[in-house]
Amino acid sequence: MATAQWAIMVVILTSFIGAIGQYFFKKASEDITFNIKKIIQNKYLFYGIGVYAIGSLIWILILPYGELSVLYPFVAIVYIWVALVSKRYFKEKMNMWKWLGILSIIIGVSFVGFGI
Protein backbone atom coordinates (compact mmCIF):
# COMPACT_ATOMS: atom_id res chain seq x y z
CA MET A 1 0.00 0.00 0.00
CA ALA A 2 1.30 3.42 -0.91
CA THR A 3 1.33 6.35 1.46
CA ALA A 4 -0.66 9.44 0.49
CA GLN A 5 1.37 12.65 0.67
CA TRP A 6 -1.50 14.49 2.31
CA ALA A 7 -1.49 11.82 5.04
CA ILE A 8 2.14 12.72 5.79
CA MET A 9 1.17 16.41 5.91
CA VAL A 10 -1.57 15.58 8.42
CA VAL A 11 0.94 13.65 10.58
CA ILE A 12 3.31 16.64 10.53
CA LEU A 13 0.45 18.95 11.56
CA THR A 14 -0.60 16.46 14.26
CA SER A 15 2.94 16.57 15.65
CA PHE A 16 2.20 20.22 16.59
CA ILE A 17 -0.72 18.94 18.64
CA GLY A 18 1.67 16.49 20.35
CA ALA A 19 3.95 19.38 21.28
CA ILE A 20 1.01 21.39 22.66
CA GLY A 21 0.10 18.33 24.77
CA GLN A 22 3.65 18.14 26.08
CA TYR A 23 3.48 21.86 26.96
CA PHE A 24 0.37 21.27 29.07
CA PHE A 25 1.82 18.14 30.73
CA LYS A 26 4.97 20.07 31.65
CA LYS A 27 2.79 22.86 33.08
CA ALA A 28 0.78 20.24 34.99
CA SER A 29 3.94 18.62 36.35
CA GLU A 30 4.93 21.89 38.04
CA ASP A 31 2.06 21.37 40.47
CA ILE A 32 1.73 17.62 40.80
CA THR A 33 1.61 15.74 44.12
CA PHE A 34 0.05 12.52 45.35
CA ASN A 35 -3.02 14.41 46.39
CA ILE A 36 -6.24 13.44 44.59
CA LYS A 37 -7.86 16.82 45.15
CA LYS A 38 -4.84 18.65 43.76
CA ILE A 39 -4.70 16.35 40.75
CA ILE A 40 -8.39 16.88 39.98
CA GLN A 41 -7.93 20.64 40.30
CA ASN A 42 -4.92 20.59 37.97
CA LYS A 43 -6.48 22.10 34.85
CA TYR A 44 -3.31 21.76 32.78
CA LEU A 45 -3.38 17.98 33.28
CA PHE A 46 -6.85 17.83 31.72
CA TYR A 47 -5.89 20.20 28.90
CA GLY A 48 -2.96 17.86 28.17
CA ILE A 49 -5.10 14.73 28.22
CA GLY A 50 -7.69 16.45 26.00
CA VAL A 51 -5.10 17.59 23.47
CA TYR A 52 -3.55 14.11 23.42
CA ALA A 53 -6.96 12.52 22.90
CA ILE A 54 -7.52 14.74 19.83
CA GLY A 55 -4.05 13.82 18.55
CA SER A 56 -4.71 10.09 19.02
CA LEU A 57 -8.06 10.36 17.24
CA ILE A 58 -6.46 12.07 14.21
CA TRP A 59 -3.70 9.43 14.24
CA ILE A 60 -6.21 6.56 14.14
CA LEU A 61 -8.20 8.25 11.37
CA ILE A 62 -5.09 8.84 9.25
CA LEU A 63 -3.51 5.38 9.68
CA PRO A 64 -5.52 3.70 6.87
CA TYR A 65 -4.04 6.14 4.34
CA GLY A 66 -0.40 5.21 4.75
CA GLU A 67 2.18 2.65 5.69
CA LEU A 68 3.00 2.49 9.39
CA SER A 69 6.70 2.31 8.46
CA VAL A 70 6.34 5.72 6.75
CA LEU A 71 3.87 7.56 8.97
CA TYR A 72 5.30 6.54 12.34
CA PRO A 73 8.82 7.96 11.81
CA PHE A 74 7.25 11.33 11.00
CA VAL A 75 5.91 11.43 14.56
CA ALA A 76 9.54 12.01 15.63
CA ILE A 77 9.16 15.58 14.31
CA VAL A 78 7.49 16.29 17.66
CA TYR A 79 11.00 16.35 19.22
CA ILE A 80 11.79 19.46 17.17
CA TRP A 81 8.69 21.35 18.35
CA VAL A 82 9.15 20.20 21.96
CA ALA A 83 12.75 21.46 21.97
CA LEU A 84 11.62 24.85 20.62
CA VAL A 85 8.70 25.04 23.08
CA SER A 86 11.03 24.10 25.98
CA LYS A 87 13.46 26.85 24.99
CA ARG A 88 10.78 29.49 24.45
CA TYR A 89 8.34 28.83 27.30
CA PHE A 90 10.32 26.95 29.93
CA LYS A 91 13.65 28.70 29.38
CA GLU A 92 15.38 25.36 28.98
CA LYS A 93 18.91 25.52 27.66
CA MET A 94 19.94 24.19 24.29
CA ASN A 95 23.42 22.91 23.49
CA MET A 96 25.31 21.55 20.53
CA TRP A 97 24.19 17.97 21.26
CA LYS A 98 20.51 18.83 21.26
CA TRP A 99 20.81 20.84 18.03
CA LEU A 100 22.72 17.94 16.45
CA GLY A 101 19.95 15.61 17.60
CA ILE A 102 17.30 17.80 15.97
CA LEU A 103 19.38 17.92 12.77
CA SER A 104 19.73 14.13 12.81
CA ILE A 105 15.96 13.69 13.23
CA ILE A 106 15.28 16.09 10.33
CA ILE A 107 17.71 14.16 8.11
CA GLY A 108 16.24 10.84 9.25
CA VAL A 109 12.65 11.87 8.58
CA SER A 110 13.71 13.23 5.16
CA PHE A 111 15.23 9.87 4.28
CA VAL A 112 12.00 8.12 5.24
CA GLY A 113 10.26 10.59 2.91
CA PHE A 114 12.62 9.57 0.09
CA GLY A 115 11.81 5.92 0.77
CA ILE A 116 8.09 6.22 -0.03
Binding site: L68, S69, Y72, I105, V109, F111
Partner: protein, 146 residues
Amino acid sequence: MKMQKTKWWAIVLMLLCTVFTALGQLFMKKGSAIDYGKLVSLIFSQNIITTITTIFSNPLLFGGLLIFFGLALYGIAAVFNIASLKGGELSLLFPVFATNYIWVSLLSAYALNEPMNIYKWIGVAGIVLGISLIGYGTEKIHKGGK
Protein backbone atom coordinates in the same frame (compact mmCIF):
# COMPACT_ATOMS: atom_id res chain seq x y z
CA MET B 1 17.63 17.61 38.90
CA LYS B 2 20.80 15.65 39.59
CA MET B 3 20.70 11.98 38.84
CA GLN B 4 22.92 9.14 39.85
CA LYS B 5 23.85 6.01 37.97
CA THR B 6 20.96 4.52 36.02
CA LYS B 7 19.13 1.76 37.89
CA TRP B 8 18.77 -1.57 36.09
CA TRP B 9 15.00 -1.55 36.54
CA ALA B 10 14.79 1.80 34.75
CA ILE B 11 16.34 0.23 31.65
CA VAL B 12 14.00 -2.77 31.86
CA LEU B 13 10.96 -0.51 32.25
CA MET B 14 12.03 1.62 29.27
CA LEU B 15 12.57 -1.48 27.13
CA LEU B 16 9.09 -2.72 28.10
CA CYS B 17 7.78 0.76 27.24
CA THR B 18 9.22 0.51 23.72
CA VAL B 19 7.75 -2.96 23.20
CA PHE B 20 4.30 -1.85 24.37
CA THR B 21 4.55 1.30 22.24
CA ALA B 22 5.39 -0.72 19.14
CA LEU B 23 2.68 -3.33 19.79
CA GLY B 24 0.20 -0.51 20.47
CA GLN B 25 1.02 0.96 17.05
CA LEU B 26 0.61 -2.44 15.39
CA PHE B 27 -2.84 -2.95 16.90
CA MET B 28 -3.93 0.60 16.07
CA LYS B 29 -2.81 0.15 12.46
CA LYS B 30 -4.56 -3.23 12.22
CA GLY B 31 -7.70 -1.76 13.74
CA SER B 32 -7.72 1.49 11.78
CA ALA B 33 -9.40 -0.06 8.73
CA ILE B 34 -12.58 -0.22 10.83
CA ASP B 35 -15.99 0.39 9.23
CA TYR B 36 -17.15 3.31 11.42
CA GLY B 37 -20.59 3.67 9.85
CA LYS B 38 -21.46 0.05 10.49
CA LEU B 39 -20.13 0.21 14.06
CA VAL B 40 -22.22 3.27 14.89
CA SER B 41 -25.37 1.77 13.38
CA LEU B 42 -24.76 -1.45 15.36
CA ILE B 43 -24.36 0.43 18.63
CA PHE B 44 -27.58 2.34 17.96
CA SER B 45 -29.39 -0.89 17.10
CA GLN B 46 -29.42 -1.49 20.88
CA ASN B 47 -29.25 -5.24 20.46
CA ILE B 48 -26.29 -6.26 22.58
CA ILE B 49 -26.04 -9.87 21.41
CA THR B 50 -26.20 -9.03 17.70
CA THR B 51 -23.71 -6.21 18.27
CA ILE B 52 -21.17 -8.46 20.00
CA THR B 53 -21.50 -11.39 17.60
CA THR B 54 -21.31 -9.11 14.55
CA ILE B 55 -18.24 -7.32 15.88
CA PHE B 56 -16.41 -10.58 16.53
CA SER B 57 -17.34 -12.10 13.17
CA ASN B 58 -16.45 -9.04 11.09
CA PRO B 59 -12.74 -8.22 10.78
CA LEU B 60 -13.47 -4.58 9.95
CA LEU B 61 -15.48 -4.15 13.13
CA PHE B 62 -13.14 -6.28 15.19
CA GLY B 63 -10.64 -3.58 14.28
CA GLY B 64 -12.41 -1.26 16.69
CA LEU B 65 -11.49 -3.59 19.54
CA LEU B 66 -7.91 -3.72 18.31
CA ILE B 67 -7.75 0.08 18.47
CA PHE B 68 -8.92 0.06 22.09
CA PHE B 69 -6.35 -2.64 22.81
CA GLY B 70 -3.67 -0.56 21.09
CA LEU B 71 -4.62 2.55 23.07
CA ALA B 72 -4.53 0.53 26.31
CA LEU B 73 -1.03 -0.72 25.45
CA TYR B 74 -0.07 2.89 24.79
CA GLY B 75 -1.35 3.91 28.22
CA ILE B 76 0.69 1.15 29.88
CA ALA B 77 3.74 2.23 27.88
CA ALA B 78 3.32 5.82 29.09
CA VAL B 79 3.24 4.71 32.73
CA PHE B 80 6.39 2.61 32.22
CA ASN B 81 8.06 5.57 30.52
CA ILE B 82 7.36 7.99 33.37
CA ALA B 83 8.40 5.42 36.02
CA SER B 84 11.59 4.59 34.13
CA LEU B 85 12.68 8.23 33.82
CA LYS B 86 12.67 8.48 37.62
CA GLY B 87 15.39 5.85 37.81
CA GLY B 88 18.23 7.08 35.71
CA GLU B 89 20.09 9.12 33.18
CA LEU B 90 18.45 10.49 30.04
CA SER B 91 21.67 9.90 28.12
CA LEU B 92 20.99 6.18 28.46
CA LEU B 93 17.19 6.02 28.69
CA PHE B 94 16.50 8.23 25.64
CA PRO B 95 18.49 5.93 23.31
CA VAL B 96 16.67 2.93 24.80
CA PHE B 97 13.32 4.64 24.21
CA ALA B 98 14.35 5.56 20.66
CA THR B 99 14.62 1.86 19.77
CA ASN B 100 10.80 1.81 19.52
CA TYR B 101 11.25 3.28 16.03
CA ILE B 102 13.21 0.14 15.13
CA TRP B 103 10.53 -2.17 16.60
CA VAL B 104 7.75 -0.38 14.73
CA SER B 105 9.68 -0.73 11.45
CA LEU B 106 10.29 -4.44 12.08
CA LEU B 107 6.61 -5.01 12.91
CA SER B 108 5.62 -3.04 9.79
CA ALA B 109 7.84 -5.28 7.69
CA TYR B 110 7.01 -8.65 9.21
CA ALA B 111 3.50 -8.28 10.65
CA LEU B 112 2.05 -5.83 8.11
CA ASN B 113 4.13 -6.90 5.08
CA GLU B 114 5.07 -3.33 4.27
CA PRO B 115 8.03 -3.02 1.88
CA MET B 116 11.12 -1.71 3.68
CA ASN B 117 14.04 -0.16 1.83
CA ILE B 118 17.45 1.34 2.56
CA TYR B 119 16.00 4.90 2.75
CA LYS B 120 13.53 3.95 5.44
CA TRP B 121 16.21 2.17 7.49
CA ILE B 122 18.69 5.06 7.19
CA GLY B 123 15.85 7.35 8.23
CA VAL B 124 15.07 5.25 11.30
CA ALA B 125 18.79 5.20 12.18
CA GLY B 126 18.90 9.02 11.92
CA ILE B 127 15.86 9.36 14.19
CA VAL B 128 17.28 6.94 16.79
CA LEU B 129 20.62 8.79 16.71
CA GLY B 130 18.83 12.15 16.95
CA ILE B 131 16.74 11.18 19.99
CA SER B 132 19.87 9.72 21.61
CA LEU B 133 21.78 12.98 21.05
CA ILE B 134 18.93 15.01 22.56
CA GLY B 135 19.02 12.70 25.61
CA TYR B 136 22.79 13.08 25.87
CA GLY B 137 22.64 16.87 25.54
CA THR B 138 19.83 17.17 28.09
CA GLU B 139 21.74 15.02 30.58
CA LYS B 140 24.82 17.21 30.12
CA ILE B 141 22.80 20.30 30.93
CA HIS B 142 21.33 18.63 34.03
CA LYS B 143 24.82 17.86 35.23
CA GLY B 144 25.78 21.48 34.77
CA GLY B 145 27.87 20.99 31.65
CA LYS B 146 27.53 22.47 28.20
